[in-house]
């Protein structure tokens, strides 16, 4: 897709590169990070971090009125041998190390959860099979906390599936020891009514590699904060995201990569397709290169494909650089309409309309899906994309 393709009405693609003495990423939040919900005022919706989010659809997660119900979620964890899975209380010392809640809902989750899950892969353990975490919503409200920790030089793939219907606020921590390699695939395949607000904090050890694949298809409101910081030099983070925002859905991904350590890398690629009236996708890509982080190499990109009228994209990449001694830094954002000329070209070769759309949308996601590098996940994603398109065709012809 061409960079300068027609930007749909009702879309914003703003970007900025700030070279600042003081972090605007930090100062444009309405309160400093805190574990205590009382440190955050109830948002009114005009704050920088809330201005795209429909607060009235958060089921009270933002204003203290949401109350946990007993059987909101069914969580099943399938872990290979050698992995420890524990349920721990609030006072466990391993909680809260990877990052601090940055907004009121994350702090609410941290203030309200009763038990946390800690999954540990011991040092030098290389898992041949993935750890599978199935989170199924049973219709209630829940506050969650999960820690996934890899010891030094451990390697693991974690697949987290969210299905069913729930109101969920959660914090998820990924703690990577030196030289560890962790890939996490988080799939938000919720039913239509679900509300899911979560902060994902990754703390990447020295020479460790973290790969996050965030896939959002379902839910009424999904608002995720994937965040990365580094505990030592030589760390790498890849943040991949794929979303398919349907009629009436709000899907918001707010990334932050905090280059707080020299000689670390990050690469973020998020791609989304939107279809239907009031489909709303928000992508915020904050990358902060602190003064100490010499030798940083970072790139972030967001692409959106708007398939129908009535959908809206807000895409805001923000790169903030406090040192000139870096290897590379870049960002890109583009939002394009589904191109009628592409459709005509394919149909003029005998390809029926539905199949032509499928080809174009698959093509749009293909490069990203290949980069994910997990064949069974790739197949699943492509199948899911096809199903989303199928559903839209059925809806359009109904």
């Amino acid at each position: 897709m061409a960079e300068a393709q027609n930007i749909p009405v009702g879309s914003t693609t703003a970007g900025s590169i700030a070279v600042a003495a003081e972090s605007t990423v930090a100062t444009r939040m309405s309160a400093p990070p805190s574990f205590d919900v009382a440190d955050f005022p109830v948002p009114h919706g005009r704050e920088e971090e809330w201005r795209f989010t429909p607060l009235e659809r958060l089921a009270g997660l933002h204003d203290g009125t949401a109350v946990a119900t007993g059987t909101a979620l069914k969580v099943a964890i399938d872990a290979p041998e050698g992995v420890t899975v524990e349920t721990v209380g609030r006072d466990d010392a391993r909680l809260g190390r990877a990052g601090t809640p940055v907004d009121r809902v994350a702090a609410q989750a941290y203030s309200s959860f009763e038990q946390a899950t800690v999954v540990t892969v011991p040092k030098e353990t290389v898992l041949a099979e993935p750890i599978r975490i199935a989170v199924h919503g049973e219709g209630g409200t829940a506050f969650g906390h999960q820690v996934i920790e890899l010891g030094a030089f451990a390697e693991a793939l974690v697949v987290i599936d969210h299905t069913g219907d729930a109101v969920l606020a959660a914090n998820v921590e990924y703690v990577l020891g030196d030289g560890a390699k962790l890939t996490v695939v988080s799939v938000q395949d919720w039913d239509d009514k679900a509300v899911h607000v979560a902060q994902h904090n990754a703390l990447v050890g020295r020479d460790a590699s973290f790969k996050s694949v965030v896939v959002t298809f379902g839910g009424d409101v999904v608002r995720l904060h994937p965040r990365v910081a580094y505990a030592g030099t030589g760390g790498e983070a890849e943040l991949f995201g794929l979303y398919f925002t349907d009629k009436g859905q709000h899907q918001e991904h707010r990334l932050l990569v905090d280059h707080n350590t020299p000689h670390c890398k990050s690469n973020a690629v998020y791609k989304g397709a939107l279809q239907g009236h009031d489909a709303h996708a928000v992508w915020i890509g904050d990358v902060l290169i602190r003064a100490v982080a010499e030798g940083t190499d970072t790139y972030e990109m967001n692409r959106n494909l708007v398939l129908t009228d009535g959908a809206r994209v807000d895409s805001v990449p923000n790169l903030e650089i406090e040192t000139g001694e870096i290897a590379g830094a870049g960002h890109a954002s583009a939002t394009g309409r589904f191109d009628d000329e592409q459709l005509f070209y394919l149909m003029a070769r005998g390809i029926p309309q539905a199949e032509a759309r499928r080809l174009v949308v698959r093509g749009f996601f293909a490069e990203l899906v290949q980069q994910i590098g997990l064949p069974d996940v790739e197949e699943r994603l492509l199948a899911k994309i096809d199903a989303e398109l199928e559903a839209s065709v059925v809806e359009a012809s109904a």
């Binding site: 005509f344 070209y345 070769r349 005998g350 390809i351 309309q353 996601f365």
Partner: protein
């Protein structure tokens, strides 16, 4: 025998909140095995004719008929026209990011032929067709038209023509932007299809240059949205010598 019949075709476009009539009564019959050159100055409506026949949504047919073997082409959707045997080689083929040429060709051939071609024979068929057009095998793995040079785009169009074997091939300014070598290769491709005797060809061009490689049976001069003169190949020679001036005077602008 496949026959395309165009009768009193009127076509309009919407531009600046106004409806503008571009085709003002086109009559033309193209039979299987025949080659018709449609020549005319810029803005005469030649490309509108091509895109209207293929069913581009930008163009509205306000009156007239188009039939292929008696079937009403205007009633068909774009893909139905292609499957009925209408092929448009485009002047400006569109990029389709993330879709490889090989995937595109196979999907298209499957749609046109009504069943997926057998993989082994298909691979051979594509490879040989590409060789004939001097296309490197790596071409198949590139994304459709993405980063293609002008010549590569046109060769890719003719490759599709060879593989899809339509009843009616409309070549919209296939010669534009080609150097002599590329023009020769592309023309040889078109001639291979013509020599089968199974295709009617509508060759739309601004220049007479391509007619040295592809010999038309009939030449039509297009001006002001209709055919204003028809003749044999000798008409092209006249245009070569005299240009379009005689046809653009009298209120019809180039």
């Amino acid at each position: 025998m496949a026959t395309l019949e165009i009768r009193d075709l009127h076509v309009s476009v919407e531009a600046d909140n106004a409806t503008k009539e571009i085709l003002k009564g086109v009559d033309l019959t193209v039979k299987q095995g025949e080659t018709h050159a449609i020549m005319g100055p810029n803005g005469s409506g030649k490309s509108t004719l091509a895109y209207s026949l293929a069913g581009h949504p930008k163009y509205t047919v306000t009156s007239g008929t188009v039939t292929l073997d008696g079937e009403d082409v205007l009633e068909m959707s774009v893909d139905e026209r292609a499957r009925a045997g209408v092929f448009l080689a485009m002047q400006y083929p569109v990029e389709v990011p993330g879709v490889s040429v090989s995937n595109f060709l196979r999907t298209s051939a499957t749609a046109i032929r009504g069943e997926a071609p057998k993989l082994r024979t298909w691979v051979k068929e594509v490879k040989e067709a590409m060789e004939r057009l001097n296309m490197d095998p790596s071409f198949a793995e590139r994304n459709v038209n993405e980063g293609f040079s002008g010549g590569e785009k046109k060769r890719h169009e003719i490759l599709q023509l060879e593989l899809l074997r339509p009843k009616l091939a409309i070549l919209d300014e296939t010669d534009s932007g080609l150097d002599v070598d590329a023009l020769r290769i592309v023309s040889e491709g078109v001639n291979r299809i013509r020599e089968t005797g199974e295709v009617g060809t509508l060759l739309i061009t601004h220049y007479t240059r391509i007619l040295r490689y592809i010999k038309p049976d009939h030449v039509h001069v297009f001006a002001g949205g209709r055919i204003v003169e028809s003749g044999g190949p000798e008409l092209a020679d006249k245009l070569e010598n005299e240009g379009y001036e005689a046809y653009t005077k009298g209120g019809v602008t180039a």
